[in-house]
């Protein structure tokens, strides 16, 4: 009797699976919830959850969360667990480029779609791209490349560059240097400071000052960005040596910790919360409601847009690894950043860029958009999808 019941249940189960199209889509979310990138992990998750609420409130989606600890080895183990044990249909997350690099061969081999929501290393959608890996954040050279021409157009011909000595630092500065020199500018000095080991930027700032440069172009993020901007300001360099760079330097996520020191810094990003569009205004408003009045950042928008893309893919009928991967590569929509789509040639996002200045507003700081640079597509760079 028992056997019959089980058999019946099994047949019924099989029957259900075969006939009901709205199958549960399991999403593996691999983000750092501890360690140096914990703030970014929480920010991206907040964006992703809001995106799901917005674009797929009645979709059957189950999220399995894992803490990547921003550690390549641990992340790979967690990714294996998500894919082999939890059998997720799609993975999202990844803040650190090193983690993205460590996961690349595994997700490519396992044929699991991975929607990257931060890691900006060029190679993941360049030389080591995969039809299963798409990126909803940015690539290092995509963000910095167009700044070369813009800085030159401001009448600045000599620049001193500074960045932490790791992949992202090098990729961002090299992309800028290439276009700045092509425009006719000159990089009079360049410094890569020991990553996360530099407490005092004073020695480097003194070198920049005596180099004869007209501006500093830099990339720092998180704690290093806060120390850098504060120390730059304390030496009184604002009037003689304007600070420019990639906008992670004055990200809305931690610009308040920099305080007045950040006023006047001009940087570029793919998203700032002050973009004036209906789509963005409603995103900002909803995000603030859920996060104690805090404005969204370039990190949360990547999570939000990844959720948007996933919802579109599922609504289009995708429900397993293969079909989701295929649908994601073709996705195109208007989000808080403006019109975005995934470049079928590299699976990287194609998006507009915003040059902004950090300005004072009331007691706090806000981002004033100075220019919108045309939608940029990162070069495929050895990728052939």
């Amino acid at each position: 009797m028992k056997k019959v019941a089980i058999a019946a249940a099994l047949t019924l189960g099989a029957f259900n699976v075969a006939n009901v199209s709205a199958e549960t889509v399991k999403v593996g979310m691999l983000l750092p919830y501890s360690g140096v990138y914990a703030a970014l992990g929480n920010e991206i998750e907040a964006g992703f959850n809001l995106g799901l609420q917005e674009f797929g409130p009645d979709l059957d989606i189950e999220i399995v969360k894992e803490d990547s600890e921003a550690d390549p080895g641990k992340s790979l183990a967690k990714a294996r667990k998500l894919v082999l044990q939890d059998k997720v249909d799609v993975m999202t997350g990844i803040v650190s480029s090193a983690v993205a690099g460590a996961l690349r061969d595994f997700v490519h081999g396992a044929k699991v779609p991975l929607m990257v929501t931060n890691a900006g290393n060029d190679s993941i959608t360049g030389s080591s791209c995969s039809p299963y890996i798409s990126r909803f954040s940015f690539s290092n050279s995509q963000v910095n490349g167009p700044m070369g021409q813009w800085v030159y157009d401001q009448g600045i011909t000599k620049v001193y560059t500074m960045a932490p000595d790791y992949t992202a630092g090098h990729e961002m500065i090299e992309a800028f240097t290439k276009t700045f020199e092509a425009a006719g500018g000159q990089v009079v000095g360049s410094e890569y400071t020991p990553f996360r080991k530099t407490k005092d930027f004073g020695p480097y700032l003194a070198k920049a000052k005596s180099s004869g440069a007209e501006a500093i172009y830099t990339f720092y993020a998180g704690g290093e960005a806060i120390s850098f901007v504060k120390q730059y300001d304390s030496f009184g360099l604002k009037s003689s040596l304007p600070l420019m760079g990639s906008g992670f330097l004055t990200s809305p996520l931690y610009v308040n910790a920099e305080g007045p020191a950040a006023i006047g810094v001009k940087t570029v990003l793919h998203y700032v919360p002050t973009i004036d569009s209906d789509m963005n205004n409603s995103f900002v408003q909803k995000f603030q409601q859920l996060n104690e009045g805090r404005s969204p950042s370039e990190y949360s928008v990547a999570g939000y847009d990844a959720a948007h893309a996933l919802a579109l893919a599922i609504k289009g009928g995708a429900d397993d690894r293969e079909s989701i991967a295929a649908a994601i590569s073709k996705v195109s929509f208007t989000g808080p950043r403006g019109e975005v789509h995934i470049d079928p040639a590299s699976n990287n996002i194609v998006q507009p860029l915003y040059v902004y200045e950090t300005v004072a507003e009331g007691d706090g700081l806000t981002q004033k958009v100075l220019a919108q640079l045309p939608t940029t597509k990162a070069p495929a760079d050895g990728c052939s999808l």
């Binding site: 704690g223 504060k230 910790a257």
Partner: protein, 288 residues
């Protein structure tokens, strides 16, 4: 690169040295007396910065910088009573493991209370801006950091060499059993020194906060430089702490000027050299 450039770099080196001195002196004094390596020292420094930032947010910078050392000393008192005291008789490995574990516990407590986002602590009005000395503009706050370091050095030096308490501490460092036989309450001395060491960590955090960033991982990031300082200088001595800090500050700063790519390696090369030539550091405490 004229002379003012080099003076500027000299000041930078001194400033970094003094900041490191504030941190390492607490650690080294605790070690010198108790032969106890408190790896959680960096975490206490981070707590000092967090407490200073939150107190300063409502009551101003000076309240923050005064409250932080006391609050961290109170925390040190609690740690001593419930944990460190029990670990006194266990071997160095157990002590290292316990205080290593404390790093992570304190880190997560910091994150639970203050969250993952960085806190702001601005330089107070009085110390904002720059002073011009012989054509060199240098931030006032950096002079303040140097002054605090120098004051701590002088006060500790006088206390150790000129007071009865100092004599008792020196006796305890030299030979704690003999000191106990002579009627010195060594246990109470240990307790006092531990709390003072913790207060110095809290002070260092409060002073460093406007210069650096107040983020949860700051305590972990500072631990290695601090350990390098006391290993080069020699464990347990005030002289070792100041010499080690100066060496570290100058190597880092002038390394950054001459060979930025090697700046972080150079200090490790120096560390290795010191360990080969003088395994107990340049100025180890006597009997330590």
């Amino acid at each position: 690169m004229d002379i003012s450039f080099w003076i500027l770099q000299l000041l930078n080196a001194l400033q970094l040295s003094m900041l490191l001195f504030l941190l390492s002196v607490g650690l080294t004094v605790i070690f010198g007396l108790m032969h106890f390596v408190n790896l959680a020292h960096g975490a206490l420094y981070a707590l000092g910065a967090y407490i200073a930032a939150s107190v300063a947010a409502s009551m101003g910078y000076w309240a923050g910088v005064l409250v932080a050392p006391f609050a961290v000393a109170v925390l040190g008192l609690i740690l001593y009573q419930f944990l460190i005291k029990r670990m006194r008789s266990s071997g160095p490995m157990a002590q290292v493991l316990v205080t290593f574990g404390l790093i992570f516990a304190l880190l997560d407590i910091t994150r639970l209370i203050w969250g993952d986002l960085a806190l702001a602590l601005d330089v107070p009005e009085l110390l904002a801006g720059r002073v011009s000395i012989g054509g060199i503009e240098y931030p006032v706050y950096r002079f303040f950091v140097m002054a605090v370091g120098l004051v701590a050095l002088v006060v500790l030096h006088l206390m150790l060499t000129k007071t009865q308490l100092g004599a008792m501490i020196r006796a305890g460092v030299d030979n704690d059993k003999m000191a106990a036989c002579l009627g010195i309450n060594v246990e109470r001395l240990f307790f006092l020194v531990f709390c003072v060491g913790c207060a110095l960590a809290g002070l260092a955090g409060a002073v460093a906060a406007p210069l650096l960033s107040v983020v949860p991982e700051m305590g972990v990031d500072i631990l290695i430089p601090t350990l390098i300082v006391i290993v080069i200088g020699g464990l347990g001595s005030l002289k070792g702490a100041i010499v080690g800090s100066l060496i570290y500050g100058f190597v880092q700063t002038f390394g950054a000027v001459f060979a930025p790519q090697l700046a972080s390696v150079m200090i490790y090369v120096l560390l290795a050299l010191v360990l080969v030539m003088r395994p107990s550091g340049l100025f180890p405490a006597k009997g330590g």
